[in-house]
């Protein structure tokens, strides 16, 4: 059973159809990224999941329950919600912000305090110095982390993120994306995230949905989005000039390696993607390298010619 099941959902404002008969299912523990230009209906679609926007027709189930049958506030307290610019409460401290949903759920004081400290630690924010600060005393990156910590406070199974990294500069954004991946791995939270940034979608998504004009053009794995674009717009969005490299960046080095060989001077960590391996071999000027595990033991090998072959369209 899917964690989030969106069936034939349509949203109209007067004569304008903003979301047009969209169906998609998000599996438990996966990150699904919805990509689209502004006005594509992507934000409206996810805001219908926690009923911030009432749907015109269709049905959405979260964890098997029809969201229309759950009282609004109860539904929202069980779904994490992160928005661009984080929406932190400026008159409340970091600790009070994070404690918002646990307080609404009536947790006792000690449990809330422990949870706030745990989350702050998890996001590399020292509780002793950050708990009592106000949002305006934090940097943009810190505010964003507090925003995600606040959404995760009550341990929701589902996290909805509306352009969560949109306001961050590129360096901090990359770090924030990696943090999100690590935390998602730890909690197993099902995440549905909206962005207009295709690179972000490829970096984060187990699955990518492409929307345009309220319609869902394609919903599949990142690899399929590149190799089998369902629509010229999808192709345009992914770009055609570097699709070989884009696809290689999605494939782990271990997926393309040959058996281990003796006598190779250079080693590459097995955690690299094919693209990273290619870049490293071009930089070092080598034709063949060993693939090594964490203990620097060779578990396979890769050659330049084989790499180039792997990047070819099928």
């Amino acid at each position: 059973m899917s964690m989030i099941d969106i069936r034939n959902v349509t949203k109209r404002y007067g004569d304008t159809t903003v979301v047009d008969n969209v169906s998609m299912a998000v599996e438990k523990g996966e990150i699904t990224v919805i990509v689209g230009t502004s006005g594509s209906g992507k934000s409206t679609l996810i805001r219908m999941i926690n009923r911030l926007v009432p749907m015109t027709s269709g049905e959405i189930r979260v964890g098997g329950r029809n969201v229309a049958d759950v009282p609004e506030t109860e539904l929202r307290r069980n779904i994490g919600y992160v928005i661009q610019g984080n929406g932190l409460f400026p008159h409340r401290t970091v600790a009070q912000n994070i404690a918002t949903v646990p307080q609404l759920l009536g947790w006792e004081r000690g449990r809330i305090d422990a949870r706030v400290d745990e989350l702050l630690g998890l996001f590399n924010l020292d509780p002793r110095s950050f708990a009592k600060k106000y949002p305006h005393q934090l940097s943009g990156g810190e505010q964003q982390r507090v925003g995600v910590a606040r959404a995760l406070a009550a341990g929701p199974e589902v996290l909805i993120m509306d352009e969560p990294f949109g306001a961050l500069d590129p360096v901090i954004r990359g770090k924030a994306q990696d943090d999100l991946l690590a935390i998602q791995k730890q909690f197993g939270t099902t995440i549905i995230l909206v962005t207009h940034d295709m690179d972000e979608a490829f970096h984060l998504g187990n699955r990518i949905a492409v929307m345009r004009g309220g319609r869902l053009l394609q919903y599949s794995t990142p690899e399929k989005i590149i190799t089998e674009p369902a629509d010229p717009f999808v192709q345009q969005l992914t770009g055609t000039t570097d699709r070989a490299l884009k696809r290689m960046s999605l494939l782990p080095l271990t997926s393309g390696m040959a058996p281990a060989k003796a006598g190779l001077d250079h080693g590459l960590p097995q955690s690299l993607s094919l693209r990273d391996a290619l870049a490293e071999m071009i930089w070092q000027g080598i034709d063949e390298a060993a693939v090594e595990n964490e203990k620097k033991a060779a578990i396979g090998s890769i050659s330049m010619s084989h790499l180039l072959e792997l990047g070819r369209k099928e």
Binding site: Q84, F89, H136
Partner: protein, 388 residues
């Protein structure tokens, strides 16, 4: 080059204040000595009184103050010297008044002249300018206000000022003064409480229903354009009718004249600032904050009381401050329709051409309004503090 530097070092406001002070001290009478309250008095300039020790000390301190304002950068030093100067000013007028009052006379009136009032205003401005430069925390401003109130209280309590005309008028009407003061406070705070109770919900509704907003705010601005006296008059007719035809209305104290029309008019004037500031304050709340709150499952009511109102509070408090200061001033006019308050003395004094009596109404009104403004500003700033 050197000259421009020297000029720049001079405080522009300071130069204006010193010029005004010097002109007032030299040209305007410091005190009028009158045989009785309606006689035209004999004006005395400050320089004619230099033989009195208190005036000599005052003059010395005035010169020191002027130097401090023109050449001293240190705000604390300015504050100290100008505060001493203020005390000397009050002491001097008291001593001079006592010295000119014939032994045992109750008819003679010693009225402070224009020179005294301008010097008082200039010294107060120098003090408040120095206080602003010190950048005190909100509670420090309230403490400073209390300290200066204590200073004034000590002078009044010591009896030093008892020979002054305004204190003579006070002595003649002690009980009435406190009764009118209480009425003044009641009308000002009562109208404020009622207009907040009505205006705050109206402002919230206006924020939620934009169509209502334009209509209501225009209606309220229209009321603001009616002169206060005319509004008091307009209310006399319907309220008088109500009082004579509805027994219940008369029973609860509603009548064409008195406190009821005064209170209603004050509330009508107060609604616009309260409603408008509530709307502006709520509009100023970042929509993303409200969206996040809704998305986390706060109820509409929790968003209003926990997010919207606390964030809009500084702006709403600004509205309340405007309303309170405005009401304290308007209550004086309410005396004309029998509403009571300090205005009673002002209009009695105008009727009798007894300026001292006018001052007995005007000076407490100014002090009341000024203190309220300082305290409410401090409250608004201390709330704005953590979230700024």
């Amino acid at each position: 080059m050197e000259e421009t530097l020297a000029v720049r070092r001079l405080d522009r406001l300071g130069v204006v204040l010193v010029v005004a002070g010097v002109a007032a001290a030299a040209l305007l009478p410091f005190i009028y000595v009158k045989a009785n309250r309606i006689a035209s008095g004999k004006p005395m300039l400050l320089m004619q009184l230099l033989d009195q020790p208190s005036v000599a000390i005052l003059t010395l301190l005035l010169v020191l103050s002027a130097c401090a304002v023109l050449f001293l950068e240190n705000a604390y030093a300015r504050l100290a010297i100008s505060t001493l100067c203020l005390a000397a000013l009050l002491a001097a007028i008291g001593f001079v008044a006592t010295s000119f009052t014939p032994e045992g006379s109750t008819a003679a009136r010693m009225t402070p002249g224009g020179g005294f009032w301008v010097l008082l205003a200039v010294t107060s401005l120098i003090i408040s300018d120095a206080l602003v430069k010190v950048r005190p925390r909100p509670w420090m401003r309230v403490a400073a206000l209390a300290a200066y109130a204590c200073l004034l209280g000590i002078f009044l309590w010591s009896g030093l000022l008892d020979s002054l005309s305004i204190m003579r008028e006070f002595a003649n009407r002690g009980d009435q003064f406190w009764a009118e003061a209480w009425t003044h406070v009641e009308l000002a705070f009562g109208s404020l409480a009622i207009s907040v109770a009505i205006g705050l919900p109206l402002g919230i509704v206006c924020f939620w229903v934009p169509k209502l907003r334009a209509a209501l705010l225009q209606g309220l601005s229209l009321i603001q354009t009616i002169p206060s006296l005319a509004l008091f008059g307009l209310l006399m007719l319907p309220l008088g009718y109500l009082a004579t035809h509805v027994p219940l209305a008369a029973a609860v104290g509603i009548s064409g004249i008195g406190a009821a029309p005064a209170l209603i008019a004050l509330v009508l004037y107060s609604l616009l600032p309260i409603v408008a500031n509530t709307v502006v304050g709520l509009e100023g709340v970042d929509p993303a904050v409200r969206d996040a709150a809704a998305g986390m499952g706060l109820t509409r009511r929790q968003i209003l009381t926990g997010i919207d109102l606390p964030l809009a509070l500084p702006v709403i408090l600004t509205g309340i401050r405007i309303v309170l200061v405005q009401a304290i001033g308007l209550v004086t006019v309410a005396a004309l329709i029998g509403g009571g308050g300090f205005g009673v003395f002002i209009f009695q004094g105008l009727g009798q051409t007894a300026m001292d009596l006018v001052l007995l109404g005007a000076v407490p009104t100014v002090i009341f309004a000024f203190s309220s403004a300082v305290i409410l500003d401090a409250v608004a700033d201390s709330i704005r503090g953590p979230a700024a």
